[in-house]
């Protein structure tokens, strides 16, 4: 696997440590520090959680809420989101904001967007930054989504902002497809990204939000972005780049030089692992009663002020 090759060559992480991390994903949350784009596992939540500096930036990633979904895999996605909101409110250090990495709704219906906006409004933070997933752009591209989530009023589903010396970029990689291919960012958005990054010092940490992974996790299921290589080429000169993805409803990561890419858990339902025996398509997985909360969750991120070091904690709703 590329990520393991990359880890082995670029960090001190051993195979044994990596396997230990893998084992921990199935249980409690895992704490990662990312230094210069290379993540190192520190241990489970509560044991070695790095101390928070008072000037550090902390924020939370949630993803794939699928408001409107009500099938067996999760008959009450609203309750799952509210559980996550309670977790966010219980954090010892309140996050500066929350990012939602797409599939806010399940069927792009106006009532789903409206309900989602109400629910996200219950989070006691200044702002919730969303990006669209393919479930948010079903009938009319991003038009319906933008009626509810046009963050900067520019009528685009991509944007950037700076906070605490970190540059954040939100992207839309769920459109611009051709038949039989992966979705893509498209030339207009890549041009915008190039111009946007041109004004950012290369020492500044960059955090990129995109719904579908910006690397090809599993092409037969559309788990990749056709033109991700062009986007990563624009990001590679920066000293610390963290890409936060959703879409695949499970935690995976890959490291390419200074670029660390992470997918997040969903707040709606789990999806199968590519290659899982007997499962040939990425449909919702119904887990035994009482197990759902263990495969849904949130992610807390902390950027140590002035260092570009980034720590993340993935927390299931039920531990």
């Amino acid at each position: 696997m590329d990520s393991q090759e990359s880890n082995r060559s670029r960090s001190a992480m051993t195979r044994r440590q990596a396997l230990a991390c893998l084992a921990q994903w199935s249980g409690a949350a895992v704490v990662w520090t990312v230094s210069g784009g290379v993540p190192r596992a520190l241990g489970a939540t509560g044991s070695n959680t790095p101390p928070a500096g008072t000037s550090d930036l902390t924020f939370v990633q949630i993803s794939d809420t699928h408001i409107g979904f009500r099938k067996d895999a999760n008959p009450d996605v609203v309750a799952s989101l509210r559980s996550a909101i309670a977790d966010i409110h219980a954090l010892p250090q309140p996050p500066a904001f929350v990012v939602h990495t797409g599939d806010v709704s399940h069927l792009s219906k106006p009532e789903e967007f409206g309900r989602a906006r109400e629910l996200l409004g219950e989070i006691r933070v200044d702002r919730v930054h969303t990006i669209p997933g393919e479930h948010d752009t079903i009938d009319d591209g991003a038009t319906g989504y933008l009626r509810y989530f046009d963050h900067d009023g520019k009528g685009k589903s991509w944007y950037s902002f700076d906070q605490s010396d970190v540059h954040f970029v939100g992207l839309n990689n769920v459109l611009n497809f051709k038949a039989g291919t992966l979705a893509a960012l498209g030339d207009e958005q890549l041009d915008w990204l190039k111009n946007d990054l041109a004004g950012v010092p290369r020492s500044r940490p960059v955090v990129v939000l995109a719904h579908i992974p910006l690397w090809t996790v599993w092409e037969p299921w559309g788990w990749g972005t056709a033109d991700s290589a062009q986007a990563l080429a624009l990001l590679r000169p920066f000293g610390s780049v963290t890409v936060l993805n959703g879409h695949i409803h499970q935690v995976l990561q890959k490291v390419e030089g200074n670029v660390a890419l992470h997918t997040a858990m969903s707040l709606a339902y789990p999806l199968p692992t590519p290659g899982q025996a007997g499962i040939g398509e990425p449909g919702p997985v119904t887990v035994p009663a009482g197990e759902l909360g263990k495969v849904l969750g949130t992610r807390q991120l902390r950027v140590a002020h002035g260092t570009g070091q980034l720590a993340m904690v993935d927390s299931p709703l039920v531990r």
Partner: protein, 119 residues
């Protein structure tokens, strides 16, 4: 009572006409044959069957059997469903001969083709 008989008689007549036309269609490739509905299932993130060949005038009905929403959207945008939830259907009648490739815009790796050919 008279109207009932009339109505029943007319129904019989229509049914007889249908049989005659269907038989004619079978032997003479008549375009006048009443179009049969052809069904395509959307299941396990695939169109089944992926390709169909039908005569002009055929009515095609797609049904989404997945728990995940899909669409039926022609590559040239000549027809497109809304997002289809579980058990939703989309119907399209194909009057003209030709090839009609389509995809699911939510999952563009899902593709299918309707070939419309005089038989």
């Amino acid at each position: 009572m008279v109207s009932t008989i009339d109505s029943a008689g007319r129904r019989l007549g229509v049914a007889a006409m249908f049989v005659v036309l269907a038989a004619a269609g079978a032997y003479r490739h008549a375009a006048a044959a009443p179009p049969a509905a052809v069904r395509v299932e959307i299941t396990k993130f695939a169109f089944a069957p992926k390709e169909i060949t039908v005569p002009p005038g055929t009515h095609v009905i797609w049904t989404n059997r997945d728990e995940t929403p899909h669409t039926v959207s022609s590559n040239d945008k000549s027809f497109a469903s809304k997002g289809m939830d579980t058990d939703d259907t989309f119907e399209q009648t194909f009057a003209q001969e030709g090839d009609y490739p389509y995809l699911c815009t939510v999952h563009p790796f899902m593709t299918g083709v309707v070939h419309v050919r005089k038989q």
